[in-house]
Point group: C2
Chain length 170, copies 2
């Protein structure tokens, strides 16, 4: 039951995003394609902060002929349509997340186990606005990342080991 409900919710979420994307494509006078449909429905079924490579791997399971270029191009459209946010934690590769309920949030990143947790605090947001105002500055968007370590070393180690095992297997 619980599992069934979870899947149900997922499907609704995916359907919703697919519809929103279709609407965007329409509005921009672009064309609906099999590849784009595959990519976005794959993307919105994944959780977390997804890299292009991770996405492509999943996409290829549905259609192995789809390549990097189309995935990159489709992700740009998703960002442009505001259905997806691009993130750059640390240095290197971009990650993408379909923002679900929370419109905006910031991140804490554990440098040990890689855990990314999300938070939102209105006081923090308000304080940023106040500081901007004091500097005669108008904020369009911001980015706050806290880098550090989990205090629960047990859980942190567990995640770290799991990650190492996955890297081994892959």
């Amino acid at each position: 039951m619980a599992q069934e409900q979870k899947d149900q919710v997922d499907e609704n979420f995916v359907k919703e995003k697919e519809a929103a994307f279709a609407e965007f494509i329409q509005r921009k006078g672009l064309k609906t394609t099999r590849q784009r449909n595959t990519i976005i429905s794959t993307f919105f079924r994944l959780r977390g902060h997804i890299s292009v490579e991770e996405l492509l791997t999943e996409v290829k399971k549905a259609n192995p002929r789809i390549g990097y270029a189309t995935v990159y191009r489709t992700l740009h459209l998703l960002v442009e349509s505001n259905l997806v946010d691009e993130r750059r934690f640390g240095y290197g590769l971009a990650r993408y997340e379909g923002h679900s309920d929370v419109e905006h949030h910031d991140h804490m990143i554990c440098l040990e186990c890689g855990m990314i947790s999300e938070f939102f605090n209105p006081r923090l947001e308000a304080l940023q606005e106040k500081l901007a105002e004091e500097n005669n500055f108008t904020i369009f968007r911001h980015r706050l990342e806290l880098y550090g370590a989990c205090q629960d070393k047990e859980a942190c180690d567990r995640r770290k080991n799991q990650k190492a095992a996955e890297a081994q297997g892959a």
Copy 2:
């Protein structure tokens, strides 16, 4: 007089950093070289958030034979020695800043004119700590960037035009 004093202060600042770097090099058992000296004394004479290319351009005025590799390598040493912070605003290239008086600060970046202003607010820092604690998380470092626009459109336009002119000249 004012000009003279400013230069004087600059020179002290540069000397101080040169000495600190020399000490670092010593401590790590590395070697003092003409190139590294040129690069760091050039770097600490520049203000703001410097890209590798900008630095190399200046460095070449003192010694045209110095190349990218040595500049990159020396910047890594400067970061490792804690005399310099690496920044990544937006996407793309790294920028470096020698932190002077203020140990830590965050940034507001105007998307129109490129102006970067710096700020530090203890309440903001404290609030971050509180939020981390609530999530059983220990912060090592953080990064906060506010992207937006100057409210003073006059000044903003002036900077934008100046930038365009510079790009033209270059």
